[in-house]
Amino acid sequence: MNLALIPLLPAISFVILILIGRRLGKAAPLISLSALLGSLVLSIQLFLQITASHGHPVHASMVWLPMAEQSFRFGFLADPLSITMCLVVTVIGWMIMLYSTGYMTDDPRYSRFFAYLSLFFAAMLTLVLADHFVLLYIGWEVVGLCSYLLISFWFEKPSAAAAGKKAFLTTRVGDLGLLAAILLMAKFGGNLNFGNWETKAQALGHLTPLVAVLLFWGAAGKSAQFPLHVWLPDAMEGPTPVSALIHAATMVAAGVYLVARCMPLFLAEPSALMVVATLAAITSFFAATIACTQTDLKKILAYSTLSQLGFMMLGLASGSAVAGMFHLVTHAWFKALLFLGAGSVIHAMHHQDTTKMGGLLKKMPITGATFIIASVAMAGVPPLSGFWSKEEILISVGGHLPPLFLWVGLAVSLMTAFYITKTVIVTFFGECRDHHAHAHESPWTMAAPLLFLSVGAAFVGLLGSPFFEHSFQHFLAPEETGGHSSAPAWIQTVSVLIAATGIGLAFVRYQLGKQLLPERMRVRLRPIYQLIDNKYYIDEIYEKIFIRPVAALGRLSWDFDAGVVDAIVNGVGRLTQVLSECKRQFDEQIVDGFVNATAIWTGRAGQTVRLLQTGLVQNYLWLAAAGAVALFFLIRR
């Protein structure tokens, strides 16, 4: 029961807020905050219960679809994996919600914002606690809806309206993969409950890699992996707390969670993992290159999120659910912090163009300091959290995947350190480049979450470090010993050096203002820079090869419907009319004409014969005599 309450409390909050939220006014967040606090406390309680029982899962279920022998029993399952997600969602979520009370304070749709957030939490917690693919799918789609509603929250802006639609449709393309995987598992894999993965994989047989890839396709939609990544940068149209919560820390990580959850299916067939690894590496690398060229504060963070999600997927692709999940957790902290810091800056500056920022550290010390902590954590500087999880992934990749993927991982680390340092420098150091700005520190509701999250961004990683005896890894997967031994020993050293290099290069380029490359090379590389700056033109390509053709096909179908199908129907109607007109003519002219003609001729005959009826006896006698004579001759002959 307690288990069901975790998603139920925010759901109740949603119902209250959507019905009477407007009347509550500024008190609306109290409802959603207390509901989520309830979920948070329950999650902690469950976590303690699971730790005490050494990872023994808690489970509760009910019948959702009764159907002969194969009913769907939906349930909630709290095992180490899902409770980890639960904690990330509720703890970080609560902080972001608190932050939102300050950030959204002037918004006319204040209560609706918290209603949508509550619905998001209800769905997200359902997603992570589900023990059944269809229940997961339900949560999966509803978080998509919330993402849509919140991206388009400021729907008066056409760009926000378009971005919401794009996000929904792109993720739906991904969801088809998940749905197809569910259908395949229903047909061939026995049941749709989590667990019994080995039997499931056996029952699926040669279909296992297909199912795994389809699952990944679904995850790619949600976690914005190439080629379904296009929606996430646009999703930044939403309010910044939403970007932090949904499009950085939690919802976009759902894909990573799904793959981690279904890891046994992926492990059964290495070819599926290679697909994951390839797409993850592509996403991670190309997104990092784009992040280096962006100047919009939120866009930088968005591409950084893409790249980091790819990094997590790369960890998963190396066969280690723990590595991916570990980075998911640390990333949630520092990326949420980065977004909230960005939000704080945007709140103060009223724009998000980094070329017009600078020197904000002095004006906004809390925001600045926490943003720097998060940046350093993401850059992978020990002993902050990002270092440990990145380490874990690189080691696992080095141990289990071809060397190319390790090089990609290292390149991404280099670029990550570079672009985030660049962002910090242009935003918080130097002189302010916008002289109209009157930046100031944000209110406590916004500053407190920043401080809290910065503690986590700094230290959460330690849980998975040797200092705490890798307790995170042991909690999540007691049996997974990790591939530490088989990986090259130099990775650790190199990765620290690479982070330092990235930070150093950015420092030289942006703090000291020195060009890194000679003029001649820069000119040569100009087209490449253009290509990257335009995000490899992927949006434009999709517009050309998918969106326009589908729209054209729609118009074509409509023309066909009106011009052919309906025209035939109307034609048949018209034909019937013409035929009946012919019949009318036939009826009037011929059938009726014959009748009338008979009548007319009869009448005329009558008229003629009438002439004989004179009434004069003499005439009659004459006629009788003539008749007698005629008869006489006739008979004689």
């Binding site: 679809l65 159907m67 609706r112 056409p158 919401g164 409509w558 199908v565």
Partner: protein, 493 residues
């Protein structure tokens, strides 16, 4: 009330219709009250029926059987089972909601409600009749009031739409009549009874059975409607007044699907199983084609009408699956579509009553002005595009699952319809609610209490069935299972 509950369901509206005839036409509120009361009582009775129905029993319940024309063995025979029960409840609810929505009708009220109530009788009778003769009568009764309701109270092209609807459907029913007569003469002793005919099977040659099957198929296909027999639907929907559109989408379209379940499948199981793949293919065509055409619409109502064509595809797909999830999905999708699209048409009406336009390009940014309406439109759009946790998803999912178990390749194609379906409704939301607010709608009022009253019951059902689909599935599963056994294809699921 005892065992006559079904007759009451059928004839209460008729009695009320006759009552309206004796009310002076100036007493408009009396006429409205009579209609509301009658449909309200029908709704209560239908609810009672749902609760007193025993889902685990096979066969028909609450049967009433009286000899009517003994010379030709025609019986007045009513009965309800798991296939008709949800549709009976749907009809009762939609009829009631339609009366509330009829508040916008001001013209010739007396005739309107007379015809409306007559229509209610016809619809209810169609779902309850177990004698082909009686079924045919009710089926045809539906046509007449519908013709006048569209033709008199409709939009600018009402006469064209009404005639098209009437003739199209009538053309279909002629073939059905021939098929019914063939059924009659093939049986020994000659009977119109659906249960008897089901039991003894048609004593006809294979080819003759095909002919009979096709006769019924044409009638039902036009009603569903199945591509390419669907073009009457957008015209009828667009021209009909709001409450009548609600009934058209909510109930009339289900008569086709119901006919397949009630007559085509049980009477000609051999042909039906051979025909299964055709159903599935037609289903996919409906799903994709309907969605594609809807995508190009600029008229709010026409868009919803074409999306109905797409949704009906899921019914066909589930039907063609010939397995339990498929059948459950098809039957449930009929029920859900009635609620969802009914609600959608109510919303179209709400906006049209205020703005006198349905052109999507005229709207935009209304979300800021009419928040409650916006919430409702988003809700029903999400239900239409099959968002999980709302009822539309369950029906579609089960149909897809059933379809996939039988025809994996065909079903995978139809899954694409989900993306286009989402695109339709997201575009709709974007065009109506999002974007820059147009000042010409500065005086637009939000949805009022009366309109809310009509739409909230539908909304509640959509949410309830989405969260607890077993409520409906439980009612229909036994019957559908028996039908499958009769068809000889009770598979694992």
């Amino acid at each position: 009330m005892g065992s006559l509950i079904l007759s009451q369901l059928v004839f209460l509206p008729l009695a009320a219709a006759l009552l309206t005839l004796v009310i002076p036409k100036e007493r408009e509120s009396w006429i409205r009250a009579v209609a509301l009361l009658a449909t309200g009582m029908v709704l209560v009775l239908a609810t009672l029926l749902v609760f007193s129905y025993r889902p685990l029993l096979s066969g028909f319940q609450f049967e009433e059987k009286i000899s009517w024309i003994p010379q030709v063995n025609v019986w007045y025979h009513l009965g309800v089972d798991g296939i008709s029960l949800p549709l009976v409840f749907l009809t009762a609810l939609i009829s009631f909601v339609g009366v509330i929505a009829s508040a916008s009708i001001q013209d010739r009220l007396k005739e309107y409600f007379f015809l409306y109530l007559l229509l209610a009788t016809g619809m209810m009778g169609t779902f309850l009749a177990l004698d082909l003769f009686l079924f045919y009568i009710f089926w045809e009764i539906v046509l007449v009031p519908m013709y006048f309701l569209i033709g008199i109270w409709g939009g600018p092209r009402r006469e064209y739409a009404a005639i098209k609807f009437f003739l199209y459907t009538l053309a279909g029913s002629v073939f059905m009549l021939l098929a019914i007569i063939a059924c009659y003469f093939s049986s020994l002793p000659h009977t119109f009874s659906i249960p008897d005919l089901t039991q003894q099977g048609l004593r006809l040659s294979h080819n003759m059975q095909w002919a009979v099957f096709m006769g019924f198929f044409l009638a039902f296909a036009i009603k569903v409607p199945i591509f390419p027999f669907h073009t009457w639907l957008p015209d009828a929907h667009v021209e009909a007044p709001t409450p009548i559109s609600v009934i058209l989408a909510g109930v009339l379209l289900k008569m086709g699907g119901y006919g397949f379940f009630r007559i085509s499948l049980p009477l000609m199981p051999g042909i039906a199983t051979q025909f299964a793949i055709v159903f599935a293919v037609l289903g996919v065509i409906n799903i994709i084609y309907g969605a594609m055409v809807a995508l190009a619409q600029t008229d709010f109502k026409k868009l919803v009408a074409y999306s109905s064509v797409s949704h009906m595809g899921f019914v066909l797909l589930g039907l063609g699956a010939m397995n339990l999830p498929g059948f459950n999905g098809a039957a449930l999708e009929m029920f859900n579509h009635g609620m969802i699209t009914g609600g959608m048409f109510l919303l179209v009406g709400v906006l049209y009553d205020r703005t006198h336009t349905r052109n999507l390009a005229d709207f935009g940014g209304l979300g800021a002005k009419i928040p409650v309406y916006s919430g409702l439109l988003i809700f029903f759009s999400m239900a239409s595009l099959g968002l999980p946790a709302l009822s539309g998803f369950v029906g579609e999912f089960l149909s897809l699952m059933g379809g996939f178990l039988s025809f994996p390749a065909i079903t995978l194609v139809s899954v694409l319809g989900l993306v286009v379906g989402a695109a339709i409704f997201l575009l709709l939301i974007q065009k109506v609610l999002l974007g820059v607010f147009q000042t010409k709608w500065a005086h637009l009022r939000d949805i009022n209490t009366r309109e809310l009253l009509a739409i909230v019951p539908l909304m509640a059902m959509v949410l309830w069935v989405g969260l607890f689909p077993r409520t409906i599935l439980f009612l229909q599963s036994t019957t559908l299972g028996n039908l499958l056994r009769h068809l000889g294809s009770m598979k694992g699921w």
